[in-house]
Symmetry: D2
Subunit: 432 residues, 4 copies
Amino acid sequence: MIPRYSLPEFTELWSDCTRYGIWLEVELAGCDAMEQAGLVPRGTADKLRAMKLELDPARIEEIERTTRHDVIAFLTHVEQLAGEPARWLHRGMTSSDVLDTSLGVQLVRVCELLLKQCDRLIQALSRRAAEHVATPMIGRSHGIHAEPVTFGVVLAGHLVEIKRGKQRLERAKQEIAVGKLAGAVGTYAHLAPQIEARALASLGLMPETVATQVVARDRHAAFAAALALLAAGIERLATNVRHWQRTEVGEAEERFARGQKGSSAMPHKRNPILSENLCGLARVVRSCLAPALENVALWHERDISHSSAERMFLPDATSTLGFMLERAAGIVEGLVVYAERMRQNLDRSGGLFFSEGVMLALIGKGVARQHAYEMVQRSAMRSFEGGGRFQDLLAADPELGTLLAPEELARCFDLEHALRWAKEIVDRAIQQ
Amino acid sequence: MIPRYSLPEFTELWSDCTRYGIWLEVELAGCDAMEQAGLVPRGTADKLRAMKLELDPARIEEIERTTRHDVIAFLTHVEQLAGEPARWLHRGMTSSDVLDTSLGVQLVRVCELLLKQCDRLIQALSRRAAEHVATPMIGRSHGIHAEPVTFGVVLAGHLVEIKRGKQRLERAKQEIAVGKLAGAVGTYAHLAPQIEARALASLGLMPETVATQVVARDRHAAFAAALALLAAGIERLATNVRHWQRTEVGEAEERFARGQKGSSAMPHKRNPILSENLCGLARVVRSCLAPALENVALWHERDISHSSAERMFLPDATSTLGFMLERAAGIVEGLVVYAERMRQNLDRSGGLFFSEGVMLALIGKGVARQHAYEMVQRSAMRSFEGGGRFQDLLAADPELGTLLAPEELARCFDLEHALRWAKEIVDRAIQQ
Amino acid sequence: MIPRYSLPEFTELWSDCTRYGIWLEVELAGCDAMEQAGLVPRGTADKLRAMKLELDPARIEEIERTTRHDVIAFLTHVEQLAGEPARWLHRGMTSSDVLDTSLGVQLVRVCELLLKQCDRLIQALSRRAAEHVATPMIGRSHGIHAEPVTFGVVLAGHLVEIKRGKQRLERAKQEIAVGKLAGAVGTYAHLAPQIEARALASLGLMPETVATQVVARDRHAAFAAALALLAAGIERLATNVRHWQRTEVGEAEERFARGQKGSSAMPHKRNPILSENLCGLARVVRSCLAPALENVALWHERDISHSSAERMFLPDATSTLGFMLERAAGIVEGLVVYAERMRQNLDRSGGLFFSEGVMLALIGKGVARQHAYEMVQRSAMRSFEGGGRFQDLLAADPELGTLLAPEELARCFDLEHALRWAKEIVDRAIQQ
Amino acid sequence: MIPRYSLPEFTELWSDCTRYGIWLEVELAGCDAMEQAGLVPRGTADKLRAMKLELDPARIEEIERTTRHDVIAFLTHVEQLAGEPARWLHRGMTSSDVLDTSLGVQLVRVCELLLKQCDRLIQALSRRAAEHVATPMIGRSHGIHAEPVTFGVVLAGHLVEIKRGKQRLERAKQEIAVGKLAGAVGTYAHLAPQIEARALASLGLMPETVATQVVARDRHAAFAAALALLAAGIERLATNVRHWQRTEVGEAEERFARGQKGSSAMPHKRNPILSENLCGLARVVRSCLAPALENVALWHERDISHSSAERMFLPDATSTLGFMLERAAGIVEGLVVYAERMRQNLDRSGGLFFSEGVMLALIGKGVARQHAYEMVQRSAMRSFEGGGRFQDLLAADPELGTLLAPEELARCFDLEHALRWAKEIVDRAIQQ
């Protein structure tokens, strides 16, 4: 989580200040529930809320240097600020009751930020897909010209991938919207399931089904997987932008800002640096999944090995992904599309991509598939090697001439027919 | 996917023979749909089905050595076997229509095998959790004795983790139950969405929302994530078995088969080798997620880089996980539980784990939290360092004596009270 | 390790037959050394060697089904075949003495196979780099035309990367050329360092400095890292081949075999499938590093979790890399280079890439860097947007005209001058 | 790279301030070399050095917001500060000449910091290994008691693993001590190899053999591998500390600081939290290897995708590893060793671990290995299941009694004999 790749709302959410604030919220939610259960004097939580305590992260860290225990340091600080009523906080709870419940709250909030960013990217892709639903473009497999598509269909493919990514994130949010107030080893020794349920409900969380000292870490790993999958989807989009912007392709380009410089040495360069940047960041987000998965197998009722790793990868992966989503939306919104160049590229193969249609027409006439394939391939290869226009070579092929009439051959070379389903595909993607 | 770690049904499912058989199913499903659309003569598929073609993998590979293209080799072989009607197969389709649809069928089937294995593990965990719902055991955090749990609660924690893993796999199955008959670049140039929908429905699949040449690879990555998460859950279980079986702990043990030898050098050894084996295999399954995620960002309408990786990691990850699930179920079913040893270990700390209860009782008497903590800690530390029984030291503490009556202190040391919620927790886990 | 991506010599090396054969070699080497130490009757090993035992993997596995211990099964089989003298084998040794020493032997041999494959790739790259030392090509950064290079220089870059990869593999070979005959927990309880040293020397290995029950697994992880790095180097080469072969670039192409078919639907297609295949396989080889690193932290004097993972990833990673090296060499050897097309691509920017030279000439005349940059950029941008030939626009720029004489401007546009160091670079790469 | 897990010298090294300072060093080194080559007026670099420019990171970032190019922003800032002589900087260079050369300088420095930390850990391990060379301890395989070792031997195993890790880091330092001044695409178009060699030599670097626009990224991946391997070695050490400190084992313990609190709920707890923390951080450091390896396959003469990833993982991995090394050294230095407890644990199996010695003695008497194994196992199993002292049961075995005299049996149970090589092993480890 570095300033360069973090949006302010993520920086804020992962700040010490926010974290300690949520710890207090959790302690107070627990206190409320214990008041109702008669374990703590009525009104304690409200009394503390009314104090509007100003927590001082620096002071907490100072205490922690002695206690070497963050929650004890926090509680000491709160007691120093609030006096007597604070002694009722944390009753029967273990540190992880606070830490993991707070983490649940924080992750739910970070999910909400991410989902909002998803929406912006989804809207951008929807709008541009609709805009280019009928803009023809050569489809490429293996980087080689294949058959025509439209640019709208291509963007629609990215659109549904991001939508799937968003759906996975929503499910991951449910998995992670979990806390615990089950005490030292999850047995409610000094608490009760009802107290936990009430406290967590007020925080928007569900209780962990069977807690150990902590919430189970497969939930966090599932969350990390959802982040990684979204990052991978953005990476595919960014990779394609980079391809479209290649000098020889030139079909679309990141918007080049005024004053921006492409190179310190080459003044004319316009590089797809935002998209390249996204590819690099996707590697970072994806890499967070490995420690998240290794964190699952904690020993017995828990060990604390997950904690240091999570302190690093959770802020990193979420804020970097937030940044990626915003940047991707900006790229799509601003993408300069060169429809004419797409058309030029499409035309450069002289219609070779219609070969399949010709082959099918031949099969329709009763020619065996392999024979039809070879008949078409000989003209295709000659044309590909510069021996003439594909349609002309086919027309001149004596064997083929006996099978397909000129009009039949011409019908195979109709671009609009080839793209007749584009609108349905794009609509399906937008409406889904 | 090595024989040592593969169950026969997985080996069978990933065999060449099965794969080519599914390719034929897919071609025939496509043929049926095209017959209904009037693109292929009625009865073609049935004619081919009636032939009961015996595909010969070796022959297909031989042809592939020339064509360097597996689907063309397959079609050539089918045409050689079946003659004229086979020429209608694959009409308007691209290789990936066959390959990715077949892969969808195969992955659905492999999911079904895995889900069945999940059920066996879930049943084993449920049964053993119920059996030991009231078997006391010391809970451990950081590997250090904490407060008591029951062995049933511990198993229930593993149970719900595997249930969550199963649920994720079910969702992943839906994501992967997708095929395509959308042609070379996903535009249905020589086909139609209706043909695709009909063909896929007969195979139990949904059409890819927006296909490129292939089904989008974020689906396969999401599937791999579900596998990795399940593997990580099994790893946690296996790690705990290894801990329980440690010489000094000795609370549970893998069943030691007759004739089994622990060591070539040390005849008395009984090692938790099955559980260790699972930990290693979990590393393998988890590692498959990295290539799956890298496969997502295919270029343009596809490149074929994913194919070689999938040929290796899909059989590997699924069959290894299938093996792991079965082995884990066997371990749980046969686990030898030493309840008496659990009780001995529980007792060895002389009730130190009741310290929290004492602290809470003091706080209940109006003592400040930090003061109560320190008051309890001084006796705890003395007892921990061998200075006497914890309860006795507390009773002898002059300050504490003025605050807690002997009966009040005794009440803090009641094991049954500490474990009063165990049954509810285990029931919740089983019924969920 | 699947047949499709394994060379025969790797399949052979990782076969059960080879493995058991090496086990016997190791037992006999140990036996020799113990004979010299007087622990075993003189001549035992030679007697056993003379028997030319034919080990039967199937029989060993049958015994293992009872003993659940592979080395004990092996020894039982040997004793069944050889009778009395076999009882002297394995004296004072632990299973891992055999297993890890054998693995050392096997890994050394697999390294030798890999190094030989490296050499073939290095030779191919050297030859082609020399061939194209002066073939001009546009250099690209960010996929955008930058300044000219030669194709030889580009290949030389790949050449030195593979050479570095080979060097790392040689070092990894040294790290892995290690065995142990130090007994159950590495203390030589029933053996001696001298016996170990002698036995291992005869197998070409060094003793582990401090063994536990096993050879330390950081060695195997370092070995896996060397494999992953080589795979990544091949991936860069393959990625570039894929770029060169893109329809719009068309500068080089994988050799297209007679009879090969690019697509079942599009007869004219020539796809860089071998290079794409390498990119996918690189993902697989790289992914083996994660379990290798997780294997390092074995518990105490060892746990056996590494074993199952190694049974899968060591054959996989090494044989897949062997296949990759051979395939990469074949691609380079057969690469069809279109020098004319390179020249056309180079020319299409109308010499924009000479902008830096012009800028430097202006700075040489005393113009401030930023001012020179802007002066060049305005003509560059106009030319880039189709406003004329770059050199003409510069010549027509009134401000620039006062600073650079026509001959001075012309000198900036000399391609040969720009590439004057190509030969030195390529020579350096080949000779290094 | 978060404050909690970063040492001050690493924070300083990775600060903006340090980075820009090194950029200036590199520009000046280049300037010096160009002065000698006559491309820049003599004395320019010295004039700039004499100005002692105070670079302002905030100002550079402000300019970058317009130019979107960091090096141009930097150069603009320098020119604003220094005026005319600054215009000679960067002549013929590309941004990456500065960036990658600077990164080389920074990585060399960070290596030096890490190597110093390695030394501290190596010294601590050496000292403690020597101290406990003869402290007996039960060796454990599979977590099960095996045969005796000494604690010194165990630490010596960790010692040599860290030494190997340090050696790999030294080699990685050589690989990374590389820069380039080869211009936009590595061809020295406006420079010369001699200028590069001179400039880099003054910075302590070697020239990249064949540069593209950048230094090849396999070097950085090899560097990341060295970091990951060291982290994995520390993880093994930390995992073992966690095992030793387990309640039931209790053989060694992290030093518990005054005022430290083990748990907010359980005052008596002393948890191995520093070691657990190291295990989590090892996961983070290891995970950096994946993006480093994916960064290798940059497109053509480079794309910039590596940059964003490196901005995150290079500071993260290096500073986290620096922190880990220091923490590990502190743990080893302060480790509280309970030799008596080790002895108790050793004794609890009643000498079962001597079974191998007995078996070998029987074989020495001519008994077949399998028969000897079974003879020993029957007493071992009875003793293991509580049926008596192992040595007594063996003595009472009628068959065994006919083979081994009482003195012969007693000799098998001599601990000092079993550990006779410990000193040699530890010495070998320290002196290596």
